[in-house]
Subunit: 437 residues, 2 copies
Amino acid sequence: MAKLPAMLSLRHLLMLSLAVNVSLILRMVYEGEREGTNKNMEGYNRIIQKSRLVIPSTSFANSTRKDRSGGMDNVINLDQGDPTMYGRFWRQMGDRTTIIIPGWQSISYFSDPTSICWFLEPEFAKEVVRLHNVVGNAVTEGRHIVVGTGSSQLILAALYALSNHDAPQPISVVSAIPYYSSYPSMADYQKSGLYKWAGDAYTFDKDGPYIEMVTSPNNPDGHTRQSVVNRNQGLLVHDLAYYWPQYTPISFASDYDLTLFTVSKSTGHAGMRIGWALVKDREIAKKMTKFIELNTIGVSKDSQLRAAKVLKTVSDSCEEENSQGGQESFFKYSYKMMEQRWKLLRAAVDSGDLFSLPEFSSGFCNFLNQESKTQPAFAWLKCEGDIEDCESFLRGHKILTRSGKQFGASPKYVRISMLDTDDNFMQFIDRLSIIQN
Amino acid sequence: MAKLPAMLSLRHLLMLSLAVNVSLILRMVYEGEREGTNKNMEGYNRIIQKSRLVIPSTSFANSTRKDRSGGMDNVINLDQGDPTMYGRFWRQMGDRTTIIIPGWQSISYFSDPTSICWFLEPEFAKEVVRLHNVVGNAVTEGRHIVVGTGSSQLILAALYALSNHDAPQPISVVSAIPYYSSYPSMADYQKSGLYKWAGDAYTFDKDGPYIEMVTSPNNPDGHTRQSVVNRNQGLLVHDLAYYWPQYTPISFASDYDLTLFTVSKSTGHAGMRIGWALVKDREIAKKMTKFIELNTIGVSKDSQLRAAKVLKTVSDSCEEENSQGGQESFFKYSYKMMEQRWKLLRAAVDSGDLFSLPEFSSGFCNFLNQESKTQPAFAWLKCEGDIEDCESFLRGHKILTRSGKQFGASPKYVRISMLDTDDNFMQFIDRLSIIQN
């Protein structure tokens, strides 16, 4: 105390302390709502550091396996493509994507009664256009935007809108094997007289009109796709849920008649249930809107407003990255995460002879402005040798995956989600290595 | 300054001021995000005060017509049942129902993987049960709750779940005339082989299984209803969207196999798109969940969380009303609003001979603990005398309504929303009086 300047008495210090206390109390109030975040963040930062520790540059096997919990006892569910991986990024963004909705908002059914899609929130539409312009993955000019309760509802809306309601027979719906496992049941669960699942597009040979679902990059195998039937009465639905820089090089701006996107796979907010369609033809957009009107009388406004804020933050992060001192953009961050995960997976698969993975060529990504890799949201894993039923084999090791059979392919294949939590993913990598050794 | 205690010097004051400054700065940061809310509130409070001025206690006709804008020129759209009337109550509740959703929430598809309805938010389910217990309008014990994107999706889910998927013919779907205008198109728009609209329940005479939609109080005419076919292969769906104290006396707790409710009509939050089903049979609940999984892979979590908060506030308002100094509950407030509107409407209708309205008997309401009136969310207005097409007649006076034909009834009837904004409703009353005089 003797070293303090003479003008500072104990009373001064007390006052100073009081001032600090006041500010601390207020800061506590201010921080109160973010407490959960910070606590979670600590845990997540530990995980990040931990994951980095276990990410080898060449080989993974045996490195720090014993550090991680779980062992062989717990079930690892990688059947669904639940994009929980992205939670970490959004936690790091703190309050930037927090949304506050007062009780009197979203009372009305209507968002914009003058728009074709009268339940589309203008703010959401604006951010969809902006994000596509920033990323360069889709042409939005001259397109009608239709919002849906996830892209699932938009797939059904597209089938409804593209079918001829006066036709005596339902229109055939096809997709090339291996196709998204839900297409057959989505097309047939209502036993609709408008459209009907007709299986693999490669072997489709029926005359007359048809709808081809083109998923690119493809779910489950990650490959870039084109339509395969190519007859003049074909109607195409391009499901581009995974056409984002973290999964595949953005080599061109898609410019199709009817294209589907979803926040579930782009930003990871699956629980929002928000997807959107870019539709060239005004009448098709009107029919899709009619479908959603009859199906659910519109789409949650709360989630649309929240999605608008999330998309805005993603676009902002891309633009800020280029400015001095800007944080890493959402896509660069996600690209690196996917890159790490695929490295780990390939290392684990290469440590033995039981499994194999598809190979992808890299390409120039106009968005990242670099040569970038294809690193799909799902791993299309093949069991080699005598293992005929890969799903059962992995289930025996308490790893839940989706059998190739469900995608119209061989049971030697399984689809594995690459978007789960760090913890689940690392346990999966561990277990894959253990199985092989 | 001379009056300050001697121990406080200028330097002390500066320090104190600094402390205050720090606290002010922090408070400003803390309050920053809420500023928009408060600004909106000022504007809204002015509107509230203005609206109160124009609501007379007994009779409306000619009273303050000249105070209101619009005249005969603007179109008054009362076709849809857009429940914007409730906005005023929610504005008055200020921040009580404001919800804050951080960016990392609702990432996963799942809410509770162990529940039959795996996308049902537990907090929402809890508040549904609580509200029914508080109001006494439905038995929740032994029921499975299935959440839907509005009750529309649940109607479709119920048709899917109740139909026999192996039957050679679709099951008949009926409802007594006048029925909800959307039932026919909802049942038939997919040309489903599972179920098919079969019209008026009163004249239905086909053998075999059928589904009867029982809407009570009924949309459009407000009458209490029972099933009318009453054969042993009948499956009933009770659509109780309007079985709330503001619309009808709560005389018993509903106890059916499959009952539907929605926030759109109970609390007025149509834009949320949240409804719920109370389902006795576990297998039916599972099939309904499967339908929603195939249709939209779940229901917006954001809206479920928000709906939970709104329902909680409604239940709280009911419980607080009985305590000393408690505000009027949501239902008492809404009951009074509906009472005023129906008084105004009846006065306008009674001022001439062109129109008539249904009469309702009152009954004892267990919730309000008083004799209470039936005051439906829609007016089922009849044009008397030579006017054969009431919808066209009113359209000629720039009042948009829904024709009786759409409800399977005579075009002499129209359905008119009673839940629109104060301004629209008052202009409608004005115009009705002008037409008759």
